[in-house]
């Protein structure tokens, strides 16, 4: 019998877990725009469904679709469904998204890929942005690590020759790849919004309000970009959300880097007791017990969201 084996256990990657919690925190802010429990969630839950569980619990969303293209995973997907409100659609995103009635109600769509930004992924983005109901949220996670040699050439050539690509045209550093991937995504989102608005009266126009731009790594460097499609008429309600007040949200090209510093449980407890750092003494306190300043700063930026993993028991 055909079996399915995921590449990773998604539930124990700390950076990813942090990103997930941040996403949910940002989504919760959207309540003035769309009462968040009215959203339908479309995700790629694999067989772990971490995102589905937290989104259901924290946001009260109870209409959920998980997309899984690998037909051999079906048995395990169904066995592992953690909530009764999740419907599996056993199709890859490019087949599934055109069938989902995205235009009929607001959706939160998290396209959580393992692949790099590529034309097929951008076509999915176009499909969502061109059709989804105003108020909908699109989040895209993709691999943005540095490819080498032949893989690098092949990847770059997918986006035309140098003159057609955004900067950096000759990416070298890891950060270059994250920025180029980000710009490729944003370019497609922008172009799709423009053609969606073309020919429509102004009050029916939408704009993509970026909320998230994160770079994280539990191994390969990953990029997460997310935002909400806001109708012109809803602009005031979007302002009311105050998404930009959250310290990890980013509306522009500068990414929020999510790094989980390697700390022991005892060190974490010590640092936690000094947060929030109203007096500005936190870094000194960290250095006193031998923690590098850089790690202390990282800790301060993620401590409200990072998970603590412990060995609970043997299997």
């Amino acid at each position: 019998m055909a079996t399915f084996r995921p590449k990773l256990d998604y539930s124990i990657r700390p950076a990813k877990a942090t990103v997930r919690r941040m996403i949910v925190e940002a989504l919760a802010r959207l309540d003035p725009l769309v009462p968040v429990d009215r959203y339908r969630y479309v995700g790629m839950g694999s067989i772990f469904f971490r995102d589905f569980q937290i989104i259901h619990r924290r946001l009260g969303i109870s209409s959920m679709i998980t997309l899984e293209g690998n037909a051999q995973a079906e048995t395990r997907v169904r066995f592992n469904l953690p909530l009764a409100c999740i419907s599996p659609v056993m199709e890859y995103t490019d087949k599934a998204l055109p069938k989902i009635r995205l235009e009929e109600s607001p959706h939160i769509i998290w396209l959580d890929y393992e692949s790099r930004v590529n034309q097929r992924l951008l076509s999915d983005v176009e499909e969502v942005i061109s059709r989804c109901d105003p108020g909908s949220v699109l989040i895209v996670t993709s691999n943005a690590d540095r490819p080498y040699d032949e893989e690098r050439e092949r990847w770059l050539s997918e986006f035309g020759d140098k003159s057609e690509r955004p900067e950096p045209k000759e990416p070298r550093e890891r950060a270059d790849y994250a920025l180029l991937s980000y710009r490729l995504l944003r370019e497609r989102i922008g172009a799709t919004v423009r053609s969606r608005n073309a020919g429509l009266p102004n009050d029916l126009h939408v704009s993509f309000r970026q909320m998230l731009h994160m770079v994280h790594s539990d191994g390969a460097q990953m990029l997460t970009v997310g935002g909400v499609l806001v109708a012109t008429a809803d602009d005031a309600r979007w302002q009311e959300c105050g998404v930009e007040d959250l310290e990890f949200t980013r509306a522009g090209e500068e990414a929020c880097e999510i790094k989980i510093p390697p700390l022991t449980r005892r060190e974490v407890q010590y640092l936690l007791a000094r947060m929030p750092d109203a007096e500005g003494t936190f870094e000194d306190a960290a250095v006193r017990i031998g923690i590098p300043e850089r790690d202390a700063r990282q800790f301060a930026s993620i401590y409200r969201y990072a998970p603590l993993f412990v060995e609970a028991e043997d299997w």
């Binding site: 034309q119 097929r120 951008l122 176009e126 608005n197 073309a198």
Partner: protein, 447 residues
């Protein structure tokens, strides 16, 4: 102080006429004149849009071109002040559906021959303009045509245009046996929507008979139908899109997108990036696939309508689409989305067939059954819906107890090389490439 003189920059008539006709084909010139008649018919039509009492009759022969309509005629004042002007005169706001650029009639007659006669009657007036172009050209500086207005109106209001002394190439074209037939089919295709409303077009005594485009609709198959109100500048434009599965794979040349502006076909069976098809490979690994014969049954129809012809997404020749226009860009996003749905359906159908073959005819064929049973419906009758077909059967295929135990092999190969192999060996699918590769390996190494 410097002294100023004025250099003469006025155009000679000969130069002007040459420039005017330089870029227009003979077919396009005739189509322009038919357009004018269609325009006039819409202008005089009753509110229900019925056009049954209107017709245009075109006669082509080696010595003369004639087009006559009964679509209301041109008022003397309109003719005197506007209809013969080159370009749109200021202050003239025609209620025109198709004609827009104010040069169609003059350009057409100059393109066809050296003498023309326009005879137009309304219910209470009539004028005749009869011009020998060579003579008119000699009279430099006089940019008028003499109008004869002292005649009683004809029985039926309408306009007749006759061109004599045809240019050499034109006369030769018109004397070819199949030329009128070609014009008829072109006119029929372009105005099929108008003909469906009862308008008659006759070319050399042959009436146009519009072939209806049809889509499968029913038995679980739903065509896509969208209708949206857009605007171009201040002018409202209605966009209607109908798309789905055509009644047959053949002729393949009919597959693609048809784009109409006010009922006139501006783009026929298009399968290029202009209508949203991909430019990459057929399997769509680059997003939207390029059109490929496996999509032969795709038919898509895009209708732009507006009371203001200038708001429509076509270029001045009215035979090409202006890709940069807002209303077209809006449509294009929708068209790309529909193409995604259609290509997905095609892939599902292919998988269903493979399943069916693998199972020795036991696996159900929900999609194929629907294709066989679905009734056809004319495109104009399709009502609101999203393109969909029945789901393919996804249960595990019944295992065949007889025969050897089979196993799967999976491997990756460079896409361009796989395509090279497909082309060279005429293989249709990646699966066939893989199977052939294994057979050859076995042939060479084991047997």
């Amino acid at each position: 102080m410097a002294k100023q003189l004025k250099a003469d920059a006025s155009a000679t008539k000969a130069f002007f006429v040459n420039m005017l006709v330089r870029d227009i084909g003979v077919d396009a010139a005739i189509l322009d004149l038919v357009d004018n008649a269609v325009d006039a018919a819409y202008e005089h039509a009753a509110d229900d849009g019925n056009l049954e009492k209107f017709r245009v009759d075109v006669q082509l022969s080696a010595d003369r071109f004639k087009i006559g309509d009964n679509c209301g005629g041109i008022e003397i004042d309109t003719a005197r002040r506007y209809a013969f002007r080159f370009g749109r005169a200021p202050g003239f706001e025609p209620n025109s559906r198709i004609g827009e650029f104010g040069i169609g009639m003059k350009r057409a007659v100059f393109r066809l021959g050296r003498e023309f006669r326009v005879d137009s009657s309304t219910t209470n007036s009539r004028f005749i303009v009869d011009v020998d172009v060579a003579e008119w050209r000699e009279q430099e500086g006089d940019w008028t045509f003499p109008m004869d207005v002292g005649v009683a109106p004809a029985d039926e209001p309408g306009t007749e245009i006759e061109v004599r002394q045809l240019h050499e190439g034109v006369a030769e074209m018109f004397s070819q046996d199949d030329y009128p037939r070609g014009i008829l089919s072109e006119v029929t295709e372009r105005h099929s929507e108008t003909i469906r409303k009862g308008f008659q077009i006759i070319v050399n005594d042959q009436p146009a008979d519009p072939r209806l485009h049809e889509l499968l609709d029913g038995a679980g198959i739903t065509p896509e139908h969208q209708e949206v109100e857009l605007s171009s500048g201040d002018h409202p434009v209605t966009l209607r899109i109908v798309a789905g599965i055509g009644p047959d794979r053949r002729p393949v040349a009919e597959s693609g997108w048809y784009v109409y502006c006010n009922g006139r076909l501006a783009l026929k069976a298009d399968r290029t990036a202009l209508t949203g098809w991909g430019t990459g490979d057929a399997d769509g690994s680059s997003g939207i696939p390029a059109w490929h014969p496996q999509y032969a049954r795709f038919r898509g129809f895009v209708f732009f309508t507006s009371t203001h012809a200038g708001a429509l997404p076509w270029t001045t020749t009215k035979t090409e689409i202006d890709e940069s226009s807002d209303v077209y860009r809006n449509a294009l996003g929708r068209m790309r989305s529909i193409i995604r749905k259609f290509t997905n359906y095609t892939n599902e159908l292919t998988q269903e067939r493979e399943r069916f073959e693998e199972s020795d005819g036991k696996a159900p064929r929900h999609i194929q059954v629907a294709l066989d049973q679905a009734p056809r419906r004319p495109v104009s009758d399709v009502v609101s819906g999203q393109f969909s077909v029945p789901d393919r059967d996804r249960s595990t295929p019944p295992s065949t107890p007889t025969g050897p135990k089979m196993t799967n092999i999976q491997f990756k190969a460079q896409a361009s090389r796989v395509n090279d192999v497909k082309k060279a060996l005429r293989l249709g699918t990646n699966r066939q490439v893989g199977e052939t590769a294994f057979e050859r390996l076995y042939e060479n190494e084991i047997k």
